[in-house]
């Protein structure tokens, strides 16, 4: 930390110390230690900036304060009358601060900024690509070359958020399945979104990339230290915006290879499962987990939804919403005479696979496996007081996928 930073930082931190609230060990008031070339560059630029702007500020402030203390009526100071520079010398003197400012803008700051912009944009020469897709409210990570793909979402228990349990050290910054990357390798990140804008931000990497639906944006990292790095979504994306953290685990090359091998077997096992017929009990048990993780943010853990926006899943419940919405739901067979009913299985599978375009109901085809989808539909049709007795097998979901 530069002396300048210390100068402004310590009163703030000292004052903060007076307020006894739970704090984790990491510094709450500075950049996390940078671990990529871009983050190091950013921190460097930030330090120069801080030194310059604090210097300018203090210089101008001292002139300002001098004037306030010297040129006051109470000390009998007579007012001058000047309104502009008169002599060429005065003009020359006055232009000095502006020349200095221009020099600071375009040379001291402008030149490093130029190189940094080019460096950040240079995504060439990367041997590895990871595709990051934001969706409400989770991140999907895919390694195209390696056949690995999974979803990463908040794993802080509900009870900690609701203050029923004490909060853990990584409250709101922990996930079920972190992104794993190797160190010392230039990795290209392709960022996009499934629904609204999100923004993938890990401060220790100096990377913040908006995820724009329909477009691929690319950026890169080259991490030089193994470790766990945390960040979160930085673009308002609806009610779950505060709850879509990012955790990256950087491993040595060997560690990364071991992780890849393990993931690949797990994926293979999942594919094998799809052709197996599952018991109702197994589907229900798995379905509950899938529902909690993917659906309850909107349809609620109780299955009762939120009036006006998210329809209930429980049959027999009234649902008040704009007529365009209820009419559409009725057409799909999930609504009759003001209450929710359970619609046809085929529609149910189609809705979960492909979402409902133009509404917040997402398409889960690329996020959930056939087993997941079969399980969650079975669960929905036999829980929350629903008793259809229907059992949907992974096979059916796979066939439904093929229809399109």
């Amino acid at each position: 930390m530069t002396p300048f930073k210390r100068l402004i930082a310590w009163p703030v931190v000292a004052a903060a110390g007076f307020f006894p609230v739970p704090v984790s060990a990491s510094y709450p008031w500075n950049f996390p230690a940078p671990v990529t070339p871009i983050a190091r560059e950013t921190l460097h630029v930030h330090d120069i900036f801080l030194e310059i702007i604090v210097t300018i500020f203090l210089l101008v402030l001292s002139v300002f304060l001098y004037s306030i203390f010297r040129h006051r009526k109470s000390r009998g100071y007579p007012a001058a009358k000047f309104t502009k520079p008169r002599t060429p010398l005065q003009w020359a003197l006055i232009s000095i601060p502006f020349l200095i400012l221009t020099f600071i803008d375009y040379v001291i700051l402008g030149v490093p900024a130029y190189h940094a912009v080019l460096a950040l944009a240079n995504t060439h020469n990367s041997r590895m690509v990871v595709r990051i897709t934001g969706s409400q409210w989770k991140w999907q990570y895919a390694y195209p070359g390696l056949g690995i793909k999974y979803i990463s979402r908040l794993s802080t228990p509900e009870d900690q958020i609701d203050n029923e349990d004490p909060k853990g050290p990584h409250f709101l910054r922990q996930v079920n399945h972190p992104l794993v990357l190797p160190v010392n390798e230039k990795i290209r990140l392709l960022v996009t979104s499934d629904d609204v804008l999100h923004s993938w931000w890990v401060p220790a990497f100096g990377v913040k990339q908006t995820a724009v639906p329909g477009f691929l944006r690319s950026t890169w990292v080259n991490i030089d230290k193994p470790g766990v790095y945390r960040g979160q979504c930085a673009s308002l994306c609806g009610i779950g915006h505060a709850f879509m953290p990012i955790v990256v685990v950087a491993k040595s090359q060997a560690g990364f290879q071991r992780w890849v091998a393990k993931e690949q077997t797990a994926e293979a096992e999942q594919v094998a499962e799809t052709s197996v017929t599952m018991t109702k009990a197994a589907l229900l048990a798995h379905g509950q987990k899938v529902f909690q993780n993917n659906c309850s943010v909107c349809h609620q853990a109780t299955g009762l939804g939120i009036p006006g926006t998210f329809p209930p899943i429980a049959a027999g419940h009234p649902f008040q919403a704009a007529p365009q919405m209820t009419q559409a739901i009725q057409k799909r067979g999930f609504y009759k005479n003001g209450v929710i009913v359970i619609g046809p299985v085929a529609n149910h599978i189609r809705i979960v696979l492909h979402g409902i375009p133009g509404t917040p109901m997402p398409a889960f085809a690329s996020q959930l496996s056939d087993v997941d989808i079969a399980a969650v539909i079975t669960y929905e049709r036999n829980s929350f007081g629903n008793h259809t007795g229907d059992v949907v097998q992974p096979e059916e979901v796979r066939n439904a996928r093929q229809e399109h």
């Binding site: 101008v60 400012l101 900024a113 940094a116 944009a121 958020i161 609204v196 979160q232 930085a234």
Partner: protein
């Protein structure tokens, strides 16, 4: 300047009761309406800020659900920008410009009346969804953030439609008042009042009015496109239909960046008057300030995409917006130079308006300098959408415009009411505001660089102590404003000493040649300026 109070003798008296205010075409009445409305909404927006800081005091979901939180932050932003600060500066323009240029009224008085009465209608439209929600209809007000980024604003609930209609009304209102101000300035200046002799506040508003006419129609167009995407099946912002969500950002910020200067410029103008008055010295660099306004006005429409450095701009575009943004620092520095040179070797006293003006210079200075840091496209990867940004624009918008309008309120209150406000209370108000403000927003710079994003109702534990500090500061800042309300009410009820016509020893300008309070119709006979 040679002029006194010039009446025609047969004063026309205003009708009494509500008719006076509803039908008025008198610039002073309309000015007062704008000011009362604007300061009222400032309190509403401030109360929303108190809700936000209460929610953020500890890392837990305290008083607001995430749905409610998003509505509160969105309304806080929209109300502060469109329903508080803009109406207040427009109110000052209506009240002061005719008196400053020696005109009997605004050039288009009836348009002036319409322009004002659209505002309460717009404010009601903006917040009515909350009332509807309370009685079980719909899902509340707009919750997309004041920037209304697509596609979130395309898929969000009907609160967005209400906001769209409110924005169209607010835009019409602003356009009407801008046209009125330009016509008044060009046609109704009194004899001898050349453009270059015009008071600097009038100049600042002239540039502001041109800016509004240049950019507000673009924003109105953008919200109509958004409405069409939501209801008429167009795909301007929908990638699946060939549109682009980033188009919204370009349109929004083409308006949104100049908007910052629309809020800033009029208060910069007032600031120059106040500094000259309490330094008992003529304003330094009148002409330089006019040129700086022009430069700021023109540059402000050419830098918008610096709000989008993380959205994925190409390298040349990034470089252009980075360097053009840095260029604005020069004309802004000219203003700072002129302000300090106006104080330099003056004979200063420190009444409340002067205190707020000095506070303005320091706080806005911090906002401006941190803005320079944000201009760096790569460092912006870290600052953007973090609390660093929140701190920056509160230093720029509270430290500048809000401090400026409070200074203006104290400065002109005696002129408007004919009575002095309570100086002791005013000083308390100032110190509590400045101290509370810094305790609120200084920690937010550090929260931002440590990694806390904006617009979240709950956060990781490492941010806890600075958030607690920020919230406590906000409560000091919020309660300090009650002193202001009390002081104004007291003065309006004539509790203080009588004000002289000139009010302040160092004051100059045509408005100070009129009585305090000024007659209902002033300058029915043209004064002459030489």
């Amino acid at each position: 300047m040679s002029t006194g109070v010039l009446h025609t003798g047969h004063e026309v008296h205003p009708p009494s009761g509500w008719r006076r205010w509803l039908f008025t075409t008198n610039h002073k009445d309309i000015g007062i309406l704008y000011l009362v409305f604007g300061f009222g909404m400032l309190l509403v927006g401030g109360s929303l800020a108190m809700l936000i800081r209460t929610e953020l005091m500890r890392p837990t979901m305290a008083i607001l659900s995430p749905e409610a939180y998003n509505q509160v932050i969105t309304l806080h932003g929209l109300i502060m920008v469109f329903a508080a600060v803009m109406p207040i500066t427009t109110g000052l323009a209506n009240y002061l410009i005719p008196m400053m240029i020696g005109a009997p009224d605004m050039a288009l008085p009836r348009l002036n009346n319409w322009g004002f009465w659209l505002l309460p209608a717009a404010a009601v439209t903006l917040v009515i969804p909350i009332v509807l929600k309370l009685i079980g209809i719909g899902n509340g007000a707009i919750d997309t953030g004041w920037t209304m980024y697509a596609p979130l604003s395309v898929q969000a609930g009907p609160g967005v439609d209400f906001a769209i209609f409110a924005i169209i009304m607010l835009g019409m209102s602003s356009l009407m008042s801008s046209i009125n101000i330009i016509v008044t300035i060009f046609n109704l200046r009194t004899q001898g009042m050349t453009m270059m002799k015009m008071p600097i506040f009038v100049w600042s508003w002239l540039i502001t009015a041109f800016l509004l006419i240049a950019v507000f129609p673009v924003f109105i167009g953008a919200v109509i496109m958004l409405f069409a995407d939501r209801h008429l099946g167009t795909n301007f912002f929908n990638p699946a239909g060939g549109g682009d969500p980033i188009l919204w950002q370009h349109l929004f910020w083409f308006f949104g960046h100049p908007e910052v200067y629309i809020l800033f410029l009029p208060t910069a103008g007032i600031l120059s008057h106040i500094l000259a008055t309490f330094s008992r010295k003529p304003m330094y660099g009148h002409r330089a300030q006019i040129y700086a306004y022009w430069a700021i006005g023109i540059m402000s429409v050419m830098v918008w995409a610096h709000h989008m450095f993380t959205s994925g701009l190409s390298v040349p575009v990034t470089l252009y917006f980075m360097y053009s943004t840095m260029a604005i620092s020069v004309p802004v520095a000219v203003l700072f130079f002129c302000w300090i040179a106006t104080m330099w070797r003056g004979s200063m006293t420190f009444e409340t308006p002067m205190l707020f003006a000095l506070g303005y210079i320091v706080l806005f200075g911090i906002g401006g300098l941190t803005g320079l840091a944000l201009a760096d496209a790569v460092a912006d990867q870290q600052y953007h959408n973090s609390y660093f940004l929140v701190a920056h624009f509160h230093y720029a918008l509270f430290g500048g415009p809000v401090m400026g309008i409070i200074a203006a309120a104290y400065y002109y209150l005696p002129k408007v009411t004919g009575y002095m406000y309570n100086e002791r209370l005013g000083k308390w108000h100032f110190w509590l505001t400045v101290i509370g403000f810094n305790i609120t927003f200084m920690p937010q710079f550090f929260l931002g660089i440590a990694g806390m994003p904006r617009r979240i109702p709950d956060y990781a534990l490492q941010f806890a102590s600075l958030n607690m500090m920020s919230s406590l500061g906000a409560f000091v800042l919020g309660s300090a404003q009650l002193l202001f309300v009390y002081n104004v009410i007291r003065t309006v009820r004539h509790a203080g000493a009588k004000a002289t016509d000139r009010v302040w020893e160092g004051a100059s300008g045509l408005e100070f040649t009129l009585s305090s309070p000024p007659p209902y119709h002033s300058f029915s006979v043209q004064p002459v300026v030489d």
